[in-house]
């Protein structure tokens, strides 16, 4: 086993099959279901649950149904530690899957690793999850912020050469790591850097500053609500930059929901399409609007069957893909899964799935998706890919186009009908 630094007790636990019975596997996660951080995230577990339900309805994985326990931590790290300990000690989960948030999850990584609990597919793009030496049980999921920043940076540099660039980033690791990537390419084009604080929804001062500095391209490392807020604030002050938005905040479905029927009043009429048209975003999963994509069609089917009342957004899709990926790993762990076997399956590099870029999982890397594609939002809020998937590393390595094959749903065939 690779449980380098964890103590003896942890290593024993790693080989255990806690949470696995003849016919069930108990897994858990922590999510902000309520409180100020819930908007935007509370639907992830809904998507995941739909997939687990589909798996269970199809007889489970190797005959075991997945018991998915979702604990609400309200994005409060103290609460996260408590609920994760509850999941581990009381519910005796087999693994934590998709724990959400950097400030929250970073508080339980040490604990989960020392207890030998697989900590899979963390819902955050922080770099910390990819540390197989110190955190052998922890695996990332989404593309990390620096990789994504690099891809955005190169795109901006190539496409908007010579134009003035402004950054608008969340005041935490999202902003910091993204800028680290961006700066490798567009540092000398940058005229202004503004940050926002997720507790303060008035972003007009920042947008005014971006406008005042003459930024023609605004790279926005924002969560969806703040992407929408910046678009509205820009509209308010009559500022029309080219927005380039990170995957965490560029879901067209969510954005158009947020921006529908604004400013229809007082004679003006601005539809969400008008506000969003031309916005450039990055992504690593196919977009829900790309109905021709086999995986989108597949997940849409699950959605319509299990959660038809929820809007089918990329947020829901995010949860679905996450659950599906875990299902693949569990299946790969064989008929008698142990914690160590699941970890080995994760790092085997064999997981091919819904994402348009590959996972970075191997013996030496626990990075999640390793690249992104670039898309543009059309006036009808569909998307067009304007730069195909490319992959890179989190350092200063090159960005290379990715041309690997994706497995189709039929090939993976996780859920039997």
């Amino acid at each position: 086993g690779g449980a380098g630094e964890s103590d003896g007790g942890g290593q024993q636990a790693a080989d255990s099959a806690v949470g696995v019975t003849k016919d069930t596997v108990v897994i858990g996660t922590h999510q902000p279901l309520t409180g100020p951080a819930a908007p935007g995230y509370s639907k992830i577990s809904v998507g995941a649950r739909a997939v687990y339900q589909a798996i269970n309805d199809g007889g489970g994985i190797n005959g075991r149904k997945i018991d998915y326990k979702v604990e609400d931590d309200g994005y409060n790290p103290t609460k996260t530690v408590e609920v994760v300990k509850k999941l581990v000690l009381q519910d005796k989960v087999f693994a934590i899957v998709g724990g959400l948030g950097t400030p929250t999850h970073s508080k339980v990584v040490d604990y989960l690793n020392s207890e030998g609990v697989p900590d899979l597919l963390v819902s955050s793009g922080a770099l910390a999850w990819d540390n197989p030496q110190k955190a052998p049980m922890t695996f990332g999921y989404q593309v990390d912020y620096t990789r994504e920043g690099k891809i955005q940076g190169q795109y901006v540099k190539d496409t908007f050469a010579g134009k003035k660039v402004g950054y608008f980033t969340q005041n935490d690791d999202v902003g910091r790591d993204t800028q680290a990537g961006l700066d490798q390419f567009v540092k000398d084009q940058v005229v202004v850097r503004q940050g926002y604080d997720s507790a303060n929804t008035d972003v007009t001062p920042q947008l005014s500053a971006l406008k005042a500095a003459g930024a023609e391209v605004v790279v926005c490392a924002c969560i969806p609500a703040f992407t929408a807020l910046s678009i509205l604030a820009a509209a308010k002050i009559g500022y029309k930059p080219q927005f380039v938005v990170s995957s965490i905040g560029a879901d067209p479905a969510t954005l158009s929901g947020l921006l529908q029927d604004f400013a229809k009043r007082g004679g003006a009429s601005v539809s969400s399409g008008q506000l969003l048209a031309g916005l450039i975003g990055t992504g690593y999963l196919p977009d829900v609007a790309q109905t021709s994509d086999p995986w989108i069609a597949y997940f849409k089917g699950l959605h319509d069957k299990y959660i038809p009342k929820e809007p089918f957004t990329n947020t829901v899709l995010f949860g679905m893909v996450q659950a599906y990926t875990f299902g693949q790993a569990l299946k790969a762990a064989g008929p008698d899964p142990t914690r160590q076997k699941v970890v080995d399956a994760m790092s085997s590099g064999a997981l091919k799935g819904p994402g348009l870029t590959p996972f970075g999982f191997s013996k030496d890397s626990h990075a999640g998706y390793t690249g992104a594609y670039v898309f543009k939002i059309n006036p009808d809020v569909t998307t067009t890919v304007i730069q195909p998937p490319a992959v890179t590393d989190r350092g200063t390595g090159a960005i290379t186009p990715y041309s690997g094959e994706r497995a189709t749903p039929e090939q993976v065939n996780l859920v039997s009908k």
């Binding site: 908007p39 940050g195 005042a212 929901g257 604004f262 003006a268």
Partner: protein, 283 residues
């Protein structure tokens, strides 16, 4: 300089919203000596109702009206069911009960409308440095404050309400229908609170949307002196503009610290707020 001007205008419309919710707090405080922590939740529910009505009928103003009426009823019900039984109890009891109500109503909102943000539009066009909507917000708030001031200070109804709040037992022996006054105070306050919710919510509506506004509203009310509607308005604008400068010049992460600093400075110099009654005889 352009920056300064924009920040000022932005601060004014933000401040108007703080003032509006602050007014609701002041009215209830004047009417029942209770700080109503459930105020944001009462406003929240009314705003969600407005959202649903607007969505169903397409009429913003119908939703607006429904929200005000619903808010009033909610306020009345709160007073009757939760606050009245606490008449003879410490101020803490009412703080905790209104907090409990805040949790319940936010949860109910989440259950019905989900915790995900919904688009909630402005009353008028929001575009422009000082947009039609900004003007509307400021005018409404100033008008309401003036009205509240006149009602409380110059009408017999206001006098009754104040007497009922300060000394219910004495007021009763003077023929004041104390229960009615307290209920009326809550109804009025909740109506103003709902209005504040409608003004403060856009662009997005979610269960915790008014939390931050509430903190600043309470700060504004305390700044201005809780007994004084015009003080609250002043407090709201001072806070709105001040925080806008801080956000613009020092960064948004400084805003909450700045609010604390402003409050501490003002209260150190004037423990009853900018416009609160100064010293009272104590012996």
């Amino acid at each position: 300089m352009q920056d300064f001007f924009d920040l000022t205008l932005g601060g004014i419309s933000a401040g108007a919203v703080y003032a509006a919710l602050g007014l609701a707090l002041v009215i209830i405080y004047r009417a029942t000596r209770v700080v109503n922590f459930a105020q944001p939740a009462l406003a929240l529910i009314s705003t969600y109702l407005a959202y649903s009505v607007t969505k169903a009928t397409g009429s913003y103003w119908l939703g607006f009206a429904v929200a005000i009426v619903a808010g009033t009823l909610l306020g009345v019900a709160t007073e009757r069911l939760l606050i009245r039984p606490l008449r003879h109890r410490s101020e803490l009891s009412s703080i905790i009960v209104t907090l409990g109500l805040l949790l319940v109503l936010q949860a109910v909102a989440g259950m019905i409308w989900s915790n995900e943000p919904l688009a909630f539009s402005y009353a008028f066009d929001f575009r422009g440095r000082f947009s039609a909507n900004d003007l509307f917000v400021v005018l409404v708030v100033v008008a309401i404050a003036a009205l509240v001031l006149v009602v409380f200070k110059y009408t017999p109804l206001g006098l009754r309400m104040r007497a009922a709040a300060f000394a219910p037992e004495v007021a009763r022996t003077l023929g004041v229908r104390v229960g009615l006054m307290l209920t009326a105070g809550w109804g009025l306050a909740a109506a103003v609170g709902s209005l504040a919710g409608l003004l403060a919510t856009p662009p997005f509506l979610f269960p915790n949307v008014l939390d931050g506004v509430f903190v600043y509203a309470l700060t504004a009310a305390v700044l201005g002196g809780l007994d004084n509607p015009l003080g609250t308005i002043a407090g709201g604008f001072v806070l709105g503009v001040g925080l806008s400068y801080v956000s613009g010049y020092f960064g948004p992460e400084m805003v909450t610290i700045a609010a604390l600093a402003i409050l501490v400075i003002v209260l150190t110099l004037r423990p009853s707020g900018l416009f609160g009654r100064a010293k009272v005889r104590r012996v």
